[in-house]
Amino acid sequence: MIGYILRRLLSTISVMAVVGIVLFLLVNLAPGDPAAVIAGDTAAPEHIAAISKKRGLDEPLWTQSALWAWGVLQGDLGVSIFSNLPVATLIVQRTEPTLALALTTMAFAVTIAVSAGVLAAWKVGTWVDRTIMVVAVLGFSAPVFVVGYGLIYVFAMELRWLPVQGYVPLGCGLWPCLKSLILPSLALGFAYVALIACITRATMIEVLGEDYVRTANAKGVPRLRVLLGHGLANAAVPIVTVIGIGVALLIGGVVITESVFNIPGIGRLTVDAITRCDFPMIQGVILVFTGIYVLVNPSVDILYTWLDPRIRY
């Protein structure tokens, strides 16, 4: 078990190393001199040279890459071109809204999706099943920002039940904070719900056809107990895998959702960095997001042993 975890972590490190190299080359092989971007349009050549020297941009590429990698390992993601503050500090400052949004979305999406998937598998072939699958296909197709503006229009502008935009920090109370996150997490979670519901339905249909389910039904175990205790418990591993894989979907969606709902999180930071051509910022944000995604999947694998004691590594 411990050997397996170590091996997984090792492969994570190799993936992150490749990600680091790709991101470093991407930004540094780009046409144009970063120092000129920092200095602005009207800067004198001496000024550009000074910035180049100060930031080590005049060193050879491999020295720069080694320095960058060394910094990243120590938690130093470089300095933002725009605000001149460390990228890591800026990301930490913006973590709360993004984390709150992501966790709320996951909590509600997993609850709804798994229930819908179990229901669809139980009522397979009926109108209940069909309706759930149609909604799921819509979920795959509707872009986050279209769903987002649709929700804002209906629930915030016409019905006036919820705030239009913005984020209320957790420090101002749990309910106001959650209230500001309801619409964003619905918009962000739609595709995620569709993904999890589909895999739940498919796995449950398979499990419900097993002999032990027939036996349980035959000896008169209550319906709900069969569905959850016999069915869902045995369908858990593929569902959890997809929940883990789907985190990539959430990360991509967070950037757009925060833009639609004006939430001051890491996603907004990314969008602002794009418009300002703040390369160290873009590099840092992508590295952090990718790191989270890469760490989620081995954690899910380790979770398997707890979900399904038959699995041993």
Binding site: V22, A30, V146, I152, I251, I256, V271, F289
Partner: protein
């Protein structure tokens, strides 16, 4: 004699009709998705015939609601939303089809090479794992912000994150097919490697790749719209659906049509492509699970 011939022709017409109806009943998703795609593609191709100028702006007609003159109203600069929506389909379809085509072509070559020549496999697949670990839209954002924004750059930026997925699929097929007896037989009878790859291995990849290409097309259209929406896609004056929604976001309360017209079209196109993909998957390749 002539009546007999026409009777035969009539019967074959009828049975062809019956065949089509039968096909439609068995594959409703292919038919619905395909029909929607054909309608949208025709509208995109014939844009100059059915819609006015998408770029002309008439400040006097700002934010007009849908009417006979402007089918879907006008936006904040007085541009015809219907015309912009129809022209927007061109960019969406162009990006979706190009990304699907290019990423499948490149992924196919790399996948064939990795699956067959085991020497390069390890290194290339590590690179692919790394690219795959970066969420697609973020990698595309980074590429666009580095290379500058134009339609061509957007296509390249969306293609690169898709290549590893195709490569993995092709590689896994090659790895299983290359061990089959008929490939051994071809090798034993002295066929060259190129011929083995081309004639004996490539055909097995076609069906899964068609399915994969439709899903890539759907996701490329979504990512393109997302990039435009975030301001990291095509330049803002281009009439793309993402740009239209981004430039109208402040007018949601007073002119919802400026957002929901392109938004609905976007969802419809992606839905059509997804339905087509699901239908093709069920028909061509029942074992392949939905791509994540």
């Amino acid at each position: 004699m002539t009546t007999a011939v026409s009777a035969v022709a009539g019967r074959s017409d009828k049975s062809r009709m019956a065949g089509i109806i039968d096909f439609a009943r068995r594959n409703p998703t292919i038919v619905i998705g395909g029909t929607l795609m054909i309608i949208i593609a025709l509208a995109a191709l014939g844009a100059p015939l059915i819609a006015g100028d998408p770029l002309i702006f008439q400040p006097i007609n700002r934010l007009k609601p849908p009417s006979d003159e402007f089918l879907l109203g006008t936006d904040s600069l007085g541009r015809d939303v219907f015309a912009r929506t129809v022209y927007g389909a061109r960019i969406s379809l162009l990006v979706g089809l190009s990304v699907a085509g290019v990423s499948v072509a490149i992924g196919l070559c790399i996948g064939l090479a990795c699956g067959y020549y085991r020497g390069v496999d390890g290194l290339v697949m590590r690179l692919m794992d790394g690219i795959m670990a970066i969420p697609a839209i973020l990698l595309a954002i980074a590429l666009v912000s580095v290379m500058g924004s134009s339609v061509r750059v957007v296509i390249i930026a969306i293609t690169i994150p898709e290549i590893p997925r195709v490569t993995r699929l092709v590689r896994s097929i090659v790895l299983s097919v290359r061990e089959l007896p008929y490939v051994d037989a071809a090798r034993a009878s002295g066929a060259r490697t190129r011929k083995i790859l081309w004639r004996h291995i490539l055909p097995s990849t076609v069906a899964p790749l068609i399915v994969q290409a439709t899903y890539i097309c759907a996701s490329a259209i979504l990512v393109e719209a997302g990039l435009s929406f975030l301001g990291a896609g095509t330049p803002p004056e281009f009439p793309t659906w993402g740009n239209m929604i981004a430039s109208s976001r402040l007018y949601l309360a007073i002119a919802p049509w400026t957002i929901f017209a392109p938004g609905a079209c976007l969802a419809l196109v992606v839905l059509a492509v997804n339905l087509l993909g699901d239908g093709l998957r069920d028909r061509l390749d029942p074992r392949m699970a939905r791509r994540m």
